[in-house]
């Protein structure tokens, strides 16, 4: 019998809690919506739509401005590059221009000049 006591006590507490929740349900009835319930909803929806549209317009303007700025910058960079011959040359071209003589292909007839006699 002693071993059952905590279990029974636990059940009793569970029962009390359930009862309390039921009483709480009765103590919190659904309040009647006021006469301005629907008009207030529509007013709040309209207010939110206006603010959303405003943010949308600002975001759109910012995106357009960023696109225009990047296009202008791109055009400026490309025009600067075209005017400089240095940037048009590849790395190999630049090397060749610097060491034109040392990069000349070997000629067999000239090699024979260095051949031991």
């Amino acid at each position: 019998m002693i071993f059952n006591k905590p279990m029974e006590q636990g059940k009793a507490d569970e029962g009390r809690l359930d009862e309390l929740f039921r009483a709480y349900r009765a103590a919190c009835p659904a309040p009647e919506p006021g006469a301005n319930f629907m008009p207030n909803i529509w007013a709040r929806i309209e207010a939110r739509e206006v603010s959303t549209n405003w943010f949308g317009r600002v975001a759109k303007t910012l995106v357009t401005a960023a696109l225009a700025a990047s296009m202008i910058l791109g055009m400026m960079i490309s025009s600067t590059n075209q005017s400089s011959a240095f940037f048009n040359a590849t790395f190999v071209d630049a090397l060749r221009a610097d060491h034109a003589s040392s990069l000349e292909p070997l000629h067999l007839d000239r090699i024979s000049q260095f051949a031991p006699e």
């Binding site: 006590q9 569970e14 009390r16 309390l20 709480y24 659904a30 309040p31 006021g34 319930f37």
Partner: protein
């Protein structure tokens, strides 16, 4: 379901009267749920309006009729959760921070509430609010939906989009915490009292 899916589809296309009908069909049920969750009758209407505003802006995402009600409940849960978080911050603010008009309004609300509520109901409400304050806002809402609103685990599964076992574990832990607090607040159970009398 309290409305036909055709009506929802009309509202999705921007039919204001269809949306009004949906709100009219569900507002009492939603306000009842919010009332149980937040326990403050004066703020129920405001939170309910927020639920329907969220519904209006997300209605376009709804594809099937079966998910409408769980989805509306999810919006209710989220709006109640936001309210509870905000109100916790609000409690910390001092009355001195309020304007004279706000203080007068608060007094008027408290006065009318005291007039309408009998002391027993208020006592029950305060006790349950105190017990529920021992668990997180999420668990408080979950426990209220299960124990006060009487939603089934299947319904909760759809609302929370988690499996039944995870919900059971969460509910069990939350309930244990509330039970522990109840013993502290209300004292020993009637079983104990009878037991002690007998001995």
């Amino acid at each position: 379901m309290l409305v036909e899916f055709d009506l929802i589809q009309k509202a999705q296309k921007g039919d204001a009267s269809a949306f009004n009908e949906i709100v009219s069909a569900y507002r009492r049920r939603i306000m009842g749920t919010i009332s149980h969750v937040i326990g403050r009758p004066e703020d129920v209407e405001d939170v309910a309006q927020e639920v329907f505003i969220r519904l209006y802006f997300s209605l376009g995402q709804l594809r099937t009729a079966e998910v409408f009600e769980p989805w509306l409940y999810r919006l209710t849960v989220n709006a109640s959760y936001d309210y509870l978080r905000k109100s916790r911050r609000r409690i910390e603010s001092r009355m001195a921070d309020l304007s004279e008009q706000q203080v007068m309004m608060a007094d008027a609300v408290a006065g009318s509430r005291a007039q309408h509520d009998d002391s027993e109901k208020r006592r029950v409400r305060d006790t349950v609010q105190e017990l529920l304050s021992t668990v997180s806002e999420e668990d408080r809402i979950l426990l209220t939906l299960k124990e006060v609103e009487g939603l089934s685990l299947k319904e909760l599964e759809k609302i929370y989009d988690v499996n039944e076992n995870a919900l059971k574990v969460r509910l069990f832990r939350a309930r244990q915490r509330v039970l522990k607090k109840m013993k502290e607040v209300t004292g020993p159970s009637s079983f104990n009292a009878k037991d002690e009398e007998a001995s």
